[in-house]
Symmetry: C2
Subunit: 337 residues, 2 copies
């Protein structure tokens, strides 16, 4: 799906951000055949450097001619940057893997989680969208169950970490926590309200239907990735005072009955999933344990007695890795396979 | 339902705990006609004092003869203390309002949230159970909707504060947070894992069905309070790094259709509820705002498009007040009305 080369020139747009930093690290860890790494960012990051394979590389200011000779451009600098520079990069001959929401729902743009719908990459037109973090981890866990017993309805509540917002939000959580523990006032800048020792049922903007964009992303993106255009899904997304890793409490109804044991067996055999589910030994996925790892962790699998065929589960993944950088790198790997 | 008096002798068992402290404060705030306050606790609290109406009262060690002359005994010292001393207090002539799980599911013991089922108090036999904190706030919000359109199914995920565990847990959250911010190791004592900057999908003990006791309390207690012995309910309960106030993401299916606007109007007119729901102005209930208040706050009311008659909502209440001390005081007020 891309011309085969021994090594590729890879641009990372938003190279100094929370996800961009992780992208560069993931490319190195996974030995992606990078010939040249081109770290790009806004003028704000001029003079910054990034580390790659033990070398310090100066960050270049993103410009229309930044993509000459670039084979793969990994974008993670927000939707407006993607909208402006994505098509420019494609015109320059790069394949763009975009982590923003800019193109996700465009019917001409594949929205890909490699474990779930790598097939959607074929026939791409240069732009490929990386789904939203909260969607990625949910579809990885639900796809094998859907294949086995057809999911009829999904009800999800997320508990999302501040790194999903970016580095500023991580700093704000740390700073507010320090201020409150020294009996000061928490300074609020990134979120509408204090996030330290609090829960904010508000991620991204509100829409006229009362849902947030984040909640509707989980509905629309999940449908597109699973190829089920009318699958009933409802979401409540909540920001919690956790630095990294999103947790999700997911309830599903299925066409055929699946016991908790059968569900665990199916999940354990599926790609990209680790089952951590042994309540007797207090084994269940935790954000602090999952941070820095690649898998989607599933635990607390329980039969839901309130419907004939229902299951509850608890899904945790590193939102910077599987929820963003790792998934983008896996898409790049699929393209050069 | 109790002999009328000008003033009552009120014992508080567990007077130095998180809930006991709040109970004494609530009795004072609400001008409950307390003649004498008898603060009782275990020998560990010997020498401690509690403040009531500007006076410092020595804590007395709980003993079998502690209840002579006591009219109302408010218990909040765990199920084993309630099981041992509750019947002793009743035999001594007191009415016991018990905040533990000891008697809640006993068919002879009323389980009461005054806004919902005050009628259940009639014919009590001396023991009255205060429901679990996470149940109380949910049933206050759901009762008026159930009366209007009959709830068919409840799916709830809770985000519960550490004060539900007690003072030790509040200290542990503060201490672990300090340790982590100074790049130390978090010392884990109260919970099985670090709670600071983490989410624990584990509240109370695990049962053989994979659910925790906390989750099944929400099922069984809600059914008993609403008088619906087979109402389909499923719960996932999660501990989050918040000091006070529980938040709940609640999804309901109803017999008849209710728009979000209709639901808000019903909730706003119901006792004990404050509707905080104006996304356009970032208005929704937050733990840090609700702490220290009496109402159950409801926001994020949305029609759930994944079923014909569904609603999502976000319910926050102070678990030490409405979830425990306040509800117990309201029960006492009903008894002397």
């Amino acid at each position: 799906m891309m011309n085969k080369k021994a090594a590729y020139t890879v641009a990372v747009v938003g190279a100094t951000g929370a996800v961009g930093t992780e992208m560069i690290q993931v490319l190195e860890e996974r030995n992606f055949p990078v010939g040249e790494l081109v770290p790009l960012a806004s003028a704000r990051s001029e003079g910054h450097e990034v580390m790659f394979r033990g070398q310090s590389l100066p960050v270049q200011v993103l410009e229309p001619n930044s993509f000459q000779g670039v084979d793969v451009a990994l974008f993670s600098a927000g939707a407006s940057v993607s909208k402006e520079f994505g098509p420019i990069a494609v015109k320059a001959g790069a394949v763009v893997i975009d982590n923003s929401s800019a193109w996700r729902m465009d019917p001409k743009v594949p929205l890909v989680v490699p474990e779930v719908n790598a097939h959607a990459l074929s026939g791409h037109q240069g732009l490929i969208a990386n789904p939203n973090c909260s969607t990625i981890q949910m579809v990885v866990a639900l796809k094998p169950l859907h294949d086995a017993v057809r999911i009829k309805r999904i009800i999800v509540t997320t508990l999302q970490s501040v790194s999903g917002t970016g580095k500023d939000a991580m700093d704000e959580l740390a700073e507010q926590t320090r201020q409150l523990l020294s009996f000061g006032e928490a300074k609020v800048e990134v979120y509408p309200y204090q996030i330290a020792f609090n829960c904010l049922p508000h991620i991204d903007d509100f829409l006229t239907n009362g849902y947030t964009k984040e909640e509707m992303k989980m509905v629309y993106e999940t449908r597109k990735i699973l190829g089920e255009s009318s699958l009933p899904i409802t979401a409540t997304t909540v920001r919690v005072p956790v630095f990294i890793c999103h947790s999700e409490s997911v309830n599903i109804e299925t066409e055929q009955k699946l016991s908790a044991n059968e569900a665990r067996a199916i999940l354990a055999a599926a790609p990209g999933i680790q089952v951590y589910d042994d309540p007797g030994h207090n084994l269940y996925p935790l954000p602090i344990d999952v941070v820095g790892t690649d898998a989607v962790y599933v635990g607390r699998v329980r039969e839901d007695e309130s419907v004939p065929n229902g299951l509850n589960m608890w899904i945790v993944a590193d939102n910077l890795r599987k929820g963003a950088a790792l998934n983008a790198a896996q898409i790049a790997e699929e393209l050069i396979r």
